[in-house]
């Protein structure tokens, strides 16, 4: 089983292709919906009284274990933002923390032995709380965001030290180490502890660094990107679920996981919120995976 701890949110999003109000979102939601396609996942997060039972049922129908979703008085976390034609950049209009302000992850007993743990981009203090409350995980994968780099860098470094695989945006890892060079940044982060770092570059794909290898993964070329919200968490969900399903951390399998993740994220962005993944089958993923193989192959000189 995979344990994910992160935000559960209502998002109001405007892009050049339309807009939506208060749709289900948040890092833990995007992650778990994406991971649920091939793996079992339990979600830990907090919601308010406005989080109707139908949302819980929606998650459960996807096979997601929601025992860790705590409902407390107050309103659910809300994010409002927009994208311009350059979809790489989200512009925040408003963030209402609401019930998330006093959130402390309460890990159900049955999740504590989870072998795969994803710490989505929440307060590093909360990420550390999670790590202190789980027993002997096989793999800890963490994400973060610029806000924590700016405001809780020391605590974030503690999280990184206890992380096996770090997932992080290109702009964020550069900010963290005051460099614009991804190779240097990757070495810096691995020197702190993680054996592997995957740098997410949005429409430019991702690069995975290990101590002795580099894997450059393309993004899937798309003619229509409707809403990039959740793409990173969806990528993480694809990545961790693939590893938990296949149980191998070999270079070959890690690379497969990255491409699997890339493909899932490529579906996510074709509609608002979590909608696109509702209709995705494993064969759709497999077909795009095969396409990406074709798009990247070249022969010896």
């Amino acid at each position: 089983m995979i344990l994910v701890v992160g935000s559960i949110a209502f998002d109001t999003i405007k892009t050049p292709f339309g807009n939506v109000e208060n749709i289900l979102g948040g890092s833990a939601v995007h992650f778990s919906i994406s991971a649920s396609i091939i793996a079992e996942v339990g979600i830990v997060g907090v919601v308010g009284m406005d989080f109707s039972k139908s949302y819980i049922e929606y998650l459960q129908k996807k096979g997601i274990d929601t025992e860790g979703v705590k409902k407390v008085s107050g309103k659910t976390f809300r994010w409002e933002g927009y994208y311009e034609y350059d979809m790489n950049q989200a512009h925040t209009i408003k963030t209402e923390l609401n019930v998330f302000k006093n959130f402390h992850p309460d890990i159900p007993e049955k999740y504590k032995t989870a072998k795969y743990v994803f710490l989505a981009n929440i307060d590093p203090d909360l990420q550390l709380e999670v790590l202190n409350n789980i027993k002997n995980p096989k793999l800890v994968v963490s994400d973060t965001m610029n806000y924590w780099i700016e405001n809780k860098k020391d605590r974030l470094i503690e999280v990184i030290k206890r992380t096996d695989i770090m997932l992080i945006n290109d702009s964020e890892i550069c900010q963290l180490f005051h460099t614009t060079n991804l190779v240097k940044a990757a070495k810096r982060i691995m020197s702190l502890g993680p054996k592997i770092v995957i740098i997410k570059k949005g429409e430019h794909g991702a690069i995975m660094f290990t101590q002795d290898s580099i894997f450059i993964a393309p993004a899937f070329p798309l003619e229509e990107v409707v809403d990039p919200t959740g793409a990173g968490d969806s990528f993480a969900g694809g990545f961790v679920s693939f590893l938990s399903k296949t149980q191998k951390l070999s270079e070959n399998n890690l690379r497969k996981a990255v491409i699997f993740a890339t493909v899932i994220a490529s579906f996510t962005v074709t509609d608002f919120g979590t909608r696109a993944l509702d209709s995705i089958q494993y064969t759709d993923i497999k077909n795009r995976y095969i396409e990406l193989m074709k798009y990247t192959k070249f022969k010896k000189l």
Copy 2:
């Protein structure tokens, strides 16, 4: 033989890693030095009285035919610019056209039957003059830049219509077609005539589109980028020279040419101006080519 028409310049460049004054540069120079590694190339351009014989000899020593380099009274074209830590963006301080202002390409008789022609990013009217003065080329490859998109779009479209393979930056093709989507932009440009378009994305690699295929090429991951000036022209030189040497326009060979070009450009940016290519051997290129194969391979699901 390859014919290149473009600028010959003295560049003054400042990057976070140092600065140089009045070093040999310009699109035709970067292209031809890069192409000369494996192919025969003739350069057409104009220089001023300050362009000493030693520069001509430097080019000739690389096997570049300089009969088309016209020396006229006045000063050689000069560009002064700088890069900040984000090396993707050149900032121009000063452009002195000098002798380039009244330049009209004068194609030596022996170049007129060149089978491979590269039109570097000069005035589209001059690019058209070149096309009107050559006989039956096998392959016309063209580049352009934002200035011509803004100021001579109609003439540029004429050039594109007569181009077989268009090489263009991502930001420029997006500007040309008022889109941020590369897949759409690629389709638009191919609808004008070119059978192939290669979109250059700097540190994010390149994408080649044909009517029925996509090839996503990574950039070579570098820990030290000293000066990106000329990377695009160096890429073009690697690309066209590979095709002229191998004489095949099959998908497989085009892909090899793109990776070959990527590798050459990856050397170019490791030193100022054209310096890095002075010490590069074919085996260096081959080794990085093999490394890139390793960096991009992944297995079936």
